[in-house]
Amino acid sequence: MADLSVNICGVAFQNPIIPASGVFGYGKEYAAFYPLSELGGIATKGTTGTPRTGNLAPRIAETPAGMLNSVGLQNPGIDAFIEKELPRLLREDTVILANIAGSTPEECAEVAAKLEQTAVHMIELNISCPNVKQGGAAFGTSCAMAEQVTAAVRKATTKPLVVKLSPNVTSITDIAKAVEAAGADAVSLINTLLGMRIDIRTKRPVLHNNVGGLSGPAIFPVAVRMVWQVANAVKIPVIGMGGVTTGENAIELMMAGASAVQVGMACFTDPYAPVRIIREMEDFLDKNHIPAVRDIIGTVQPW
């Protein structure tokens, strides 16, 4: 049996698989299927300083090998998260990455400061949500803004800080370097790619928000490329995600340079996807006589 454990910023994960923020809520709906302790970690739903209602429906559309969403950070706010959701999550034997967002650097810092007094293991700062008008991707698409918001949150927290990057940029390596310089302990990527579909009978975009984030197997090659580029550009660990559906996908993303892997849309296709992927990774490692999953991180041999 291969050793699946990984260590990111001093936090020990029993395996590298983490349901991605936004697909998994605060975990309780999926706890009906399997113990959450089987997961390496859980990235919780993006949570802001005050409650948000999100965008009007439709918020979801299936696309070839993927989907668009425009939920728009609907969440109950950080106080409700800390009071009602976090204590239950922290009783699970798994790493909790609290995904946070805000309209301003100050809001992000305030949310991080509130988490400082909790036992949450890591903070994942979302500077890449494509579905909100303020903050969100606006922070993640300019080096100066990415640096500013990361620095503000860095000052507010001593917890390991992961910054989640947007792929909707000219150079993701420049953004990664900027957040590394501003004090990020790790980066996670990729968030969704901005997309759009139109119902040609009604001439209306299928999403009420007109545009939304594309995820799913369709974006996996983009994720592999960006993880590889970023892993070669920064010294901090990279958490990879984007269309991972199988254990072999997860192995591939780790070979590209990811130290752990988040799973998004695959949870909708198969609620058991994260635990299945863990099993499939183990099978691959055993069959190939690789004793530990960490041995494969960044081992791609480019031409």
Partner: protein
């Protein structure tokens, strides 16, 4: 209440019941034991990434079966319609919050529009002769489940927009209004949004309690992804609730159309 499970269940029976409309009976004892009228199932068409929410058209805990009736709307439902007896359906079920049942009710009115008729069938089974089912269709080719509703003991009123079938030419609202003058304890409705809105208005005007089953594009089906938001008016203000978990059934007066 989280008693849903995911599994692959064998198809015992398949029937084409109208143009592009199919009835499937699945063997799924664990689901049939818990399922309630108004709940739905979330089915994965092979080769697709997202599941399709389909309302439950029949629950038989003794036989361990569930009946599903759906129309082909796109490529996903087309794949599902291509399945046959002996094939399996990958399903998460039962999901959502069903209709409120009133054991004391003396008259329940079930209003279904098109492919909104199937979820009325478990209600007809529950209320039997105390139910009147008003069903609306575009034309004769879409008419479904009238004999099934009658075999539950329900009185049926079938309406078609073009008058090619049924006793009523036009929408469901005219017979509903007439029926409500005689009184009804509860009106249940499922169908296209304009129909639901019109039914809700008639019920409000006539002072009848009404529950509607809503539809929205969804991803997880269990309340995690927050995709299927709908605006609901509660005592403490407007909220974005979710069709999959808080619904699909809502009190008509709480829905913001």
């Amino acid at each position: 209440m989280t008693n849903y499970t995911q599994g692959a269940y064998p198809i015992l029976e398949k029937q084409a019941i109208a143009q592009d409309t199919y009835s499937f009976t699945l063997y799924c004892p664990a689901v049939a034991e818990h399922a309630k009228p108004g709940q739905f199932v979330h089915i994965l068409p092979k080769g697709f990434g997202l599941r399709r929410p389909i309302s439950i058209a029949g629950i038989d805990p003794e036989q361990g079966t569930l009946r599903l009736v759906f129309a082909v709307r796109g490529k996903g439902t087309d794949v599902l319609a291509g399945l046959n007896k002996g094939d399996f359906m990958d399903m998460i079920a039962p999901l959502g919050h069903g209709f409120t049942l009133y054991p004391e009710a003396s008259h329940a009115v079930l209003v279904g529009g098109g492919i909104g008729v199937p979820p009325m069938l478990p209600l007809a089974a529950y209320y039997g002769a105390k139910a009147t089912a008003i069903s609306g269709f575009r034309s004769f080719a879409q008419v479904i489940l009238q004999a099934d509703l009658e075999s539950c003991g329900a009185r049926t009123i079938c309406c078609t927009e073009d008058g090619t079938a049924g006793a009523v030419k036009g929408f469901v609202t005219a017979p509903l209004e007439e029926l409500l003058t005689e009184g009804a304890d509860i009106v249940y409705a499922c169908g296209p949004e304009p129909m639901l809105k019109a039914v809700a208005q008639v019920c409000r005007r006539m002072g009848a309690a009404c529950e509607v089953s809503l539809e929205e594009r969804m991803a997880c089906g269990i309340g995690a992804c927050l995709g299927c938001a709908t605006r609901i008016r509660k005592a403490d203000g407007e909220q974005f609730l979710h069709v999959c978990k808080d619904g699909p059934v809502f009190k008509a007066e709480e829905v913001i159309w």
